[in-house]
Subunit: 335 residues, 2 copies
DNA sequence: GACGCGCCTGTAAACGTTTTCAGTCAGGCA
DNA sequence: TGCCTGACTGAAAACGTTTACAGGCGCGTC
């Protein structure tokens, strides 16, 4: 049924070794023979079998990507960065999402054994140390947004703390003194760092902190909507809301509008991530810009290098800087 | 370096066949022997090599997914549907995005040969017939949003025409007579069908059609923004805008706001897809709901069945229905 | 006591490649 | 003529599995 290298060899009247040599340019072959083989190969539509190739070369040309159950544009942008970089180097991308706990991640690793040359793991919820611990040392891994210590692994993080700190100071600079925060899951590392940045900026400036100004959320628009409504009902009402990601900020915007509040006249709103849709909000959303697709690109480049050097290279820990993007959703406090 | 089945066999003092039998429950093995082997296997952290397994079983337990350069939530939702369904059946997902022309798609197919048990192909831009023509008949394929005729392949389409037609009639029902349309690429099948639905609904109701009311776009927020601005400047100004997808509708909303127009008082806006963020717009966006993740789920289920039956099953062509979701971005025409 | 039949186990082939090694052949040189 | 070299080619091993086949052993039956 399937056409193999043997079929090509037989049809061309040569041995499989010669066919292989022609197809990979891996040895001298007579001009006439080469042409004949090339002809037969394309006529028969021969394509080498990936499995057999991987088996012999110990290379799959595939990268595994383990992601949590991300939603929306963040996911899409990360994958875009990863895939385009991988593709440029002739690699495929095997994705696997929605891994809640350590066991699930380990199962995913096992299932991918021998199908993948390395992994990009994004797991902000879980102790990465434990995950990666029982991975064979020969298997390259790049940790994305993971909480991990030491210099044993390649890792790439967003400057969550710095970004949140800067945004909070920006709001304070606009004269806001009652600033609410919509948080993500406590156990999410990104979320925790952003919360820490918010708190520390308030402390640095000697502003009041109230528990009721910190609302729980889970990075979805729905949770932002809920939190936004609650904040609108607070008294005294905060004059600014900083959401730990854009999706929640968008949800909050929607809730504020329903509550009859104008943004930014009555209350300011800021987000985090600067997803593409942020600038098209009404009003356009002030946010902490993260180069999301670059996150994927960098992680992939690092991983490809690790694969190339068989994981013998010196590991590096990077932090991707963030920048403030000022749009119209935040105004000077006039209350 | 890597621990193979042979290592386990040696350590346990049995043959590889016996180990294989234990690990796959594929034959009778003495109780004592079985225990010993299981013990050794877990102590050595043995995991079968995927490549070798695929080679011998002719199964990769992996599905290939070829997508165009989708952006935003649509991509993310489709993948979510595909991956969750695949994962439930023990399959992995190999994604590959950004395929512009036939050659690129073919190259992707070739590269995946032997790494994948079947393909989900989404390619609204290109004649699918040509793509799939020179694929071996034994390779299962499900076509997603592809233009294709006949019953030779499994295919799954959105009811683009019906959805667009219904939305246009809805706008007409609200009293709008000058309805603008922001289109997608001409060569995009989805876009073309949505445009056709818009046109035919206007014709059915005997409404005027003007070339200047049909603005080009490319499914991005930026193009919707541009088109929205142009439409706002038209005179007489249309009283409603129907965008061929939500991203463009969101862009248009933003442009209208900048032009000082109120939605829906001055002008109504409708989108298509009903991406999750649509309901959180200001105002919440009326849209044609498409069960995006279900699109991925269904395609995957069909593909898995095709794999199961070695592509000998009867192919089916499905169309996913759409529903109108009425929110506040469209109002009765009061001009 | 011979035979057949289960159960358990091992040997070896097969999957489709790459690659090492050895071989053939022509031609140049002594 | 004999030898060496270099270009070309083929045979066979190797990768890590599964599986068809066969063998050994204990036990029951005639």
């Amino acid at each position: 049924m399937k056409v193999t290298i043997r079929d090509v060899a037989r049809e061309a009247g040569v041995s499989v070794a010669t066919v292989s040599r022609v197809l990979n340019d891996s040895g001298p072959v007579g001009d006439e023979t080469r042409k004949r083989i090339l002809g037969v190969a394309s006529r028969l539509r021969y394509t080498p079998d990936g499995a057999a190739l991987s088996l012999i070369t110990r290379r799959t040309n595939t990268l595994g990507v383990l992601l949590p159950d991300l939603h929306g544009e963040f996911f899409s942008e990360v994958i875009r960065g990863i895939d385009s970089t991988a593709q440029r180097s002739g690699y495929h991308v095997l994705v696997s999402r929605s891994h809640r706990d350590k066991d699930e991640i380990e199962a995913a690793f096992r299932a991918m054994r021998g199908r993948v040359d390395g992994h990009v793991v994004m797991s902000p919820e879980i102790d990465a140390q434990a995950i990666v611990a029982n991975l064979p040392a020969s298997c390259p891994v790049v940790l994305l947004n993971c909480v991990i210590e030491g210099t044993e692994f390649d890792s790439l993080n967003i400057d969550n703390f710095g970004g949140a700190h800067a945004m909070t100071r920006h709001l304070i600079g606009l004269g806001h003194e009652r600033i609410a925060f919509i948080a993500g899951h406590e156990r999410n590392h990104d979320a925790a760092e952003r919360l820490r940045g918010y708190r520390e900026a308030l402390m640095d400036e000697g502003l009041e902190q109230r528990a009721e100004w910190e609302r729980p959320g889970d990075f979805t628009e729905a949770s932002g909507f809920r939190a936004g409504g609650e904040i609108a009902a607070l008294s005294p009402r905060p004059t600014a809301i900083f959401a730990a990601n854009d999706s929640m900020a968008i949800g909050a915007l929607s809730a504020l509008r329903e509550a009859g509040l104008r943004v930014p006249e009555d209350i300011s709103v800021a987000g985090f991530d600067d997803i593409p849709v942020a600038r098209y909000m009404s009003p356009p959303l002030t946010s902490v810009h993260v180069a999301i697709s670059e996150l994927g690109e960098r992680a992939t480049r690092t991983l490809l290098q690790a694969v190339e050097e068989k994981n013998q290279h010196v590991k590096c820990q990077e932090t991707l800087p963030t920048t403030l993007v000022i749009r119209q959703s935040c105004g000077r406090n006039i209350h």
